[in-house]
Subunit: 348 residues, 2 copies
């Protein structure tokens, strides 16, 4: 049986989860939902299952030690340390260069939450099967609201376990998103991909020859240090960064998608965390997390997280209260997207 090679990407700053998510310890490395961090969940999701090879993690140098610590004793895990941030296409290409040409890669962001692991595994196996047929496969996340913050995938002709992708749509306005949701023809583009390593590199070479060449040079000139691999920084820094969607997926004639209804959340705001934690809330929808005491009086759907100071919440509905490192954030779920623009989040 050919194993699937998980490639876990660690990027993104997650300023909308300030004051808990910070530059030094961003979103993937925090236990935001459950006791494990999102990164640990991403690793665990494909661990202990012999259909999957050990994970390859791609991340910046700033978080390398954090990653090694959180990988713990994951057998065979490798870490590719990006010399600098160049978006997802170069990161994925680095991993592809380090894998056998025929290896099926399963590219997973490390800052998403997936509630239903079985549904994820089923989609991963379907995606891998299509990848072996030389499709470049994207997970199509079941949309349950007219979200304007994500890209959408429109389904085309049916394939085994999935569909061809008819069209990629950038973040739509609300009218269009509502239309997409009603049509049943569109899914969210969740940033989870499967492809054969050699096939991905061949397609990249077709659409972004400079990028493909510079990634290959960076790997050729790289240094292995135990479980860590350090690509050469000069060629990598010379890359003009681009997302894998923009560099490859939107250009290829072999784009496919597998539908995935798996309790996915990008944990993009405190509202998303509150939603992902709903199962743990009390009968009024209130939830206390963290080390400090929390008292609720006549509250509904309030999330309170504190690293020490007691939080007392009175008469609130749909509010998140986050107390961390001497910062106090109080936000409605509705406006939680604005947190990333706060002075505190920007100057951290």
């Amino acid at each position: 049986m050919m194993q699937i090679h998980p490639v876990i990407l660690c990027g993104g700053s997650g300023t909308r989860l300030w004051p808990v998510s910070r530059k030094a310890v961003p979103k993937p490395f925090l236990p935001l939902v459950g006791d494990e961090t999102l990164f640990e969940q991403a690793v665990r999701r494909v661990a202990g299952d012999d259909r999957f090879a050990p994970p390859m993690v791609v991340a910046g140098a700033d978080h390398a030690d954090l990653i090694m610590a959180q990988l713990g004793d994951t057998p065979g895990a490798r870490l590719v340390v990006e010399p600098c941030a160049r978006n997802t296409a170069p990161a994925i290409a680095l991993a592809a260069c380090l894998l056998p040409e025929d290896a099926v890669m399963l590219v997973c962001p490390s800052d998403h939450h997936i509630a239903d692991r079985d549904a994820f595994l089923a989609a991963a196996l379907a995606a891998a099967a299509l990848a072996r047929e030389n499709y470049l496969v994207s997970f199509g996340i079941a949309a349950d609201r007219p979200e304007t913050g994500y890209g959408y995938l429109q389904r085309g002709a049916p394939l085994a376990g999935g569909y061809a992708i008819r069209r990629f749509v950038e973040k739509p306005d609300l009218a269009r998103a509502t239309e997409y949701l009603a049509s049943g023809d569109y899914s969210w583009n969740g940033g989870i991909f499967a492809f054969r390593a050699g096939h991905l590199l061949a397609e990249l070479a077709a659409y972004r020859p400079d990028m493909a060449r510079l990634v290959a040079e960076a790997v050729k000139g790289g240094i292995t240090d135990g479980a860590r691999f350090h690509p050469a920084s000069e060629p990598f820094a010379a890359i003009v960064g681009a997302s894998i969607d923009y560099a490859v997926m939107e250009n290829t004639a072999r784009a496919a998608m597998v539908p995935a209804d798996m309790g996915w959340s990008d944990i993009g705001s405190w509202a998303a965390i509150a939603e992902a934690l709903e199962g743990a809330a009390d009968a009024s929808g209130n939830l206390a997390r963290g080390k400090g005491a929390v008292d609720f009086a006549q509250c509904k759907d309030v999330l309170a997280l504190t690293d020490g100071p007691r939080v007392s919440a009175v008469g609130l509905e749909g509010v998140c209260i986050i107390v961390q490192d001497g910062e106090v954030l109080v936000t409605t779920r509705e406006a939680a997207q604005l947190v990333g623009k706060l002075p505190g989040a920007l100057v951290q």
Copy 2:
């Protein structure tokens, strides 16, 4: 000209203003509205005006030093230190015993806010004139909402500058309070009084002879220590406490009231503070107070007070955020009455 003798009562714990108001430094001694404390405002309100004698303050021993400090160099100020708390009637009677029989006392709580000093002074002069005619006078605060948390006074026959009191009403239910407000016949009982000292003591002796006797004994056996007077604790402790309303005002045939529309607030909750501070708020009704930074994003009518940690408020309306001494309180204005029942407020 006969001067009016201000008697300033310092009682009440103010747990509904937790976590700022605490047992050690309760509500009257905090700069909750403006730069001065409510106590300092009460003293200042009758200072520098030769129609008023120096103030006499009545308070418990716990706050004696705080009071002396906040009195500063108020000339001639005296402090009567209650041996124990026995409600307002004994406290007022102590002051009455220490004043000349003919002195007109103006009894003022120290935990209220009065925005319009001129209106207060006009009402005080009218009340003093009625007191000289041997009326026991209560300020009738202009009611502007069907408040169920206060007692009400119903007007009777007109007198010079006021009215006889037809009836005292304990805290009514909402239906009744709404009726009172609509009738225009009722005012709030604000706990501000004027009477001749000798007259008050005579009436007290009629309705509460034991209390009157024990207060007289406590004063007779008391000790003067500079500006402080310490009544004898044994007789004072033997008093069965009662409010001045219950012990005297509701019994006398000489109860009168002066109407007072003076921007009065009992600062009974964080909502009341937010209202009293409305003039200082920004165009969206938001107001930041305290030492720490505060950032508002899409907020309306939010009060944030912090003793250090930055507060970031997002998308909120009509909310008070109070950060003090390692406690974080977030309450709607509507539910702010519940603050006093919080675990934090009770166990402080």
